[in-house]
Structure formats: C-alpha cells, structure tokens
Symmetry: C2
Subunit: 231 residues, 2 copies
C-alpha cells in the first residue's frame, strides 16, 4: 500500500512538459484509450476479474504498453475511481435552504440520471467497487461522501421544518433517489431484457426522469415555492 488513493494519479508532473506537444499528444491519446477500455473491463468483471490482457486488447495495444503508461493494475483502477469521484463531486455542489425544494430535487434526479447515462461504465465500475465491499473507497465513503450527504440532509430537514415538504428521513430519501437513478446504469441489462429494448433512447430517459421526479416529489410531499409543480 504505497500511497492509496493517489498512486498513479498525477501524470502531469513527470519529466518535461514543455517540449512541444507531439509526445504529450501521443500520451494523451493512449491514456484516453486505455482508460476507456479499462473502465469497460473493470465495470464488467470487477477489480479481480479484470485482466490487463483484456484491457490491452480492447485498447488495441500490447499489454506491456498498458503497464508502461499506467504503472500497475492497482494504479489504473484507482485512477479510474478518482476520475469517477470527480464527476460525482461536481453534482449539486451548491444548494442552500433558500432554494426551492422542488427545483433542487428535480435537478438532483435529473443530473444524477444524466451522470448514469453519460458514464454508464464509470457508474458500473463504482457499483462493482461498492458491491465488493468498497475496499478502495472506504475512506471516501466514511469521509467526503458522508459529509456531502449529511450537509444536504440538513437542508432537507430545514425544508421539512419550514413545511415545504413532509418530515421524512432525509438520508433515506437521498438513498432512494440514488438507487432509483443508479439502477438504470447498473441494471441496464435487466431493464433492457425486461422491457425488450435494445437500448434506452433519449426520450426513454426523459420519460423515466419525469416519472421519478413526479413520484418522488409527490411521495415526499414537496410543495413548490411557486405554485407551479415543475415543468
């Protein structure tokens, strides 16, 4: 465990950076290809089940080349997790008690849904990590993410106190939104199998988002500050 959570995560500060661009360009292209391939393979098979050989093949490179850029399997995996956490942290970063509950909750559902849709592999990678007991993310869960949830829970509580929504447990409510949206990435195979679709279209996603917004907001008794119940 030589530096967990950081290991192979700072590709910028190594060697010279100024020398033109060409080598930087090559590195960028290959790293992008490797990260994309690795995200798919890790998402599908989990950390242990993924093989560098499979990742290399999907990236169209020899295995040695993957190790040249990423250092180790562990480092590659950690780097993917960190990238996904960054995407997650960008979500709903600034909300306050003064905001409109309906607007905020709809924005939360909508942006979470889009995160699952834009990065389905990353979403599944995260799910696989948690499913396996979160060996790499335990600190993050008990620290950063916990604070994130607690802060938003407090706001929900204050909304409830002001009568803007029912006095439901805010943490359970956040988990409800979380699971409902996460489901469409993680359980995609099940959703497609049951609905008989090949893929979810944009309009499917829009329909599901509207459905979730309506049911969850109504279920939590959210009253919009303006009488308009969200477009």
């Amino acid at each position: 465990m030589t530096g967990p959570m950081i290991e192979g995560s700072a590709p910028a500060e190594r060697g010279a950076r100024e020398p033109g661009e060409a080598n930087g360009v090559t590195r960028q292209r290959n790293e992008r290809e490797i990260l994309a391939a690795a995200e798919r393979v890790f998402a599908r098979h989990g950390y242990r089940g993924a093989s560098l050989q499979a990742i290399a093949e999907q990236a169209g490179l020899p295995k040695s080349n993957v190790l040249y850029y990423m250092g180790s399997k562990r480092g590659l995996y950690v780097r993917l997790l960190e990238r996904m956490m960054e995407r997650w942290n960008a979500l709903l970063d600034d909300i306050s008690v003064e905001d409109d509950p309906a607007e905020v909750l709809e924005a939360f559902i909508r942006s979470k849904m889009q995160l699952s849709r834009r990065h389905p592999e990353g979403s599944r990678l995260f799910a696989a990590e948690i499913l396996g007991g979160a060996p790499f993310l335990q600190e993050y869960l008990r620290g950063e993410l916990r604070d994130w949830v607690q802060a938003r829970a407090r706001i929900l509580e204050q909304w409830a106190e002001r009568g803007l929504m029912d006095p439901v447990d805010p943490v359970w409510l956040i988990f409800l939104i979380w699971s409902a949206t996460q489901h469409y990435a993680d359980f995609e195979a099940q959703v497609l199998g049951i609905t008989g679709r090949d893929a979810l279209s944009d309009s499917d996603v829009e329909e599901i988002t509207t459905f979730l917004t309506r049911v969850i907001l109504k279920g939590a008794g959210v009253r919009s500050r303006d009488a308009v119940p969200a477009r």
Copy 2:
C-alpha cells in the same frame, strides 16, 4: 456451452440414493458449506474474480473437494443463480386486480426488503451478474422475469384505470421499488459508511421499509380501498 442453466443442477439423480442416509448427510453438509462460501466469494468478486481456492478456504475444505462436489466453477455458479431465482420467484406469486393496491404494494416492498436482508450475499451475487451484462441470466431476463413483470404491470394498469392509483407507468414503478429495496443489500458498504453504522438493525430495516412504503405509495397516488392508509 454444454447445457446452460442446467449443468450441475441435479445432484439428486446420481448413483444410488436409497443407501441409508449417512452419505447423504455428509453430502448435504458439505454442499451447504460450499454453497454458502461460494455465494460470499462470487458476490464479492464476480464470476471471473472469484477463485475456487478462496471458496475452498472459506468452506474449510481442500480445493479438490469443492470440485468433487460441484464439478466445475461454472456449474457451481449456475447452481447458486438458480437457487437465488427460486427465492425470487416465490415472491408475490398470486395477486389479482381484486386485491387492495396499498396492501399488495406494501407487501411487495416488505418482502423484497426482507429478501435483501435474509440473503444479502445472494442478492449481491445477482447484482454482480446483472452488472456484468447478465451473461448467464439473459434468457431468464428476457423470458420468465419479463413475463412476471408484465403480468404485474397489467394489474397495476387496471388499478389505475379504476382510479385506485395515479396512471403512472407500471414498469418504471416496479423498477423503482426494485432498485430502492435492492440498494440496501447491494450498496450496504455505502449505506453503512455514510450512516456511520456497523450494521443495519432490525429496527433500521423496519424504519426504511415504512419510509419506502409511505413515499412510494403516496408518490404513486395509491388510495387504499379501505380508508385506512396501511398500518
């Protein structure tokens, strides 16, 4: 692919069965131990990531013995999936349009929640299988399970027509219940990390069940046939 979904699943029809009971007892005990250990390991690492060595260690047996009883890794995995599907199929097997929507939906949420609680490893095993693209369960999803969902969706639609609930898409509603309940098994590590608990107690589960029932039923506009809004 020599006989998918069936392979190692009929241990009864082999050799003699009548000869007393002692050998049958040994077999039962060892198989139980192996299945339990395998469920844990497969749930944690997925099919590819799980090793027979790890399973054998957890079961307290040499690797050869595991193979003696289970034949192959594939067969063992399939057998676990089938066992989990049986548990699932026992859920909410007989409902009709004449039933009370509130009662049925609460029973669904409650029994699904208990399934996740009673068999968390099996639940995670199933999740890992779906997460990996459901290579072993595709037929099941597109067949049996699809029919199961469609049948229940039709009943929900009829309830909506009779004005017993809002005209929401019944399939999305089933997925919502599914994801919300599944979450507490699959994302247990996250739930515990964020809430700062060591484990979910019975009363936690009861509280969550009540919360989910209230929010989802209210959100779907379910009106109990009797005016009583579910105990």
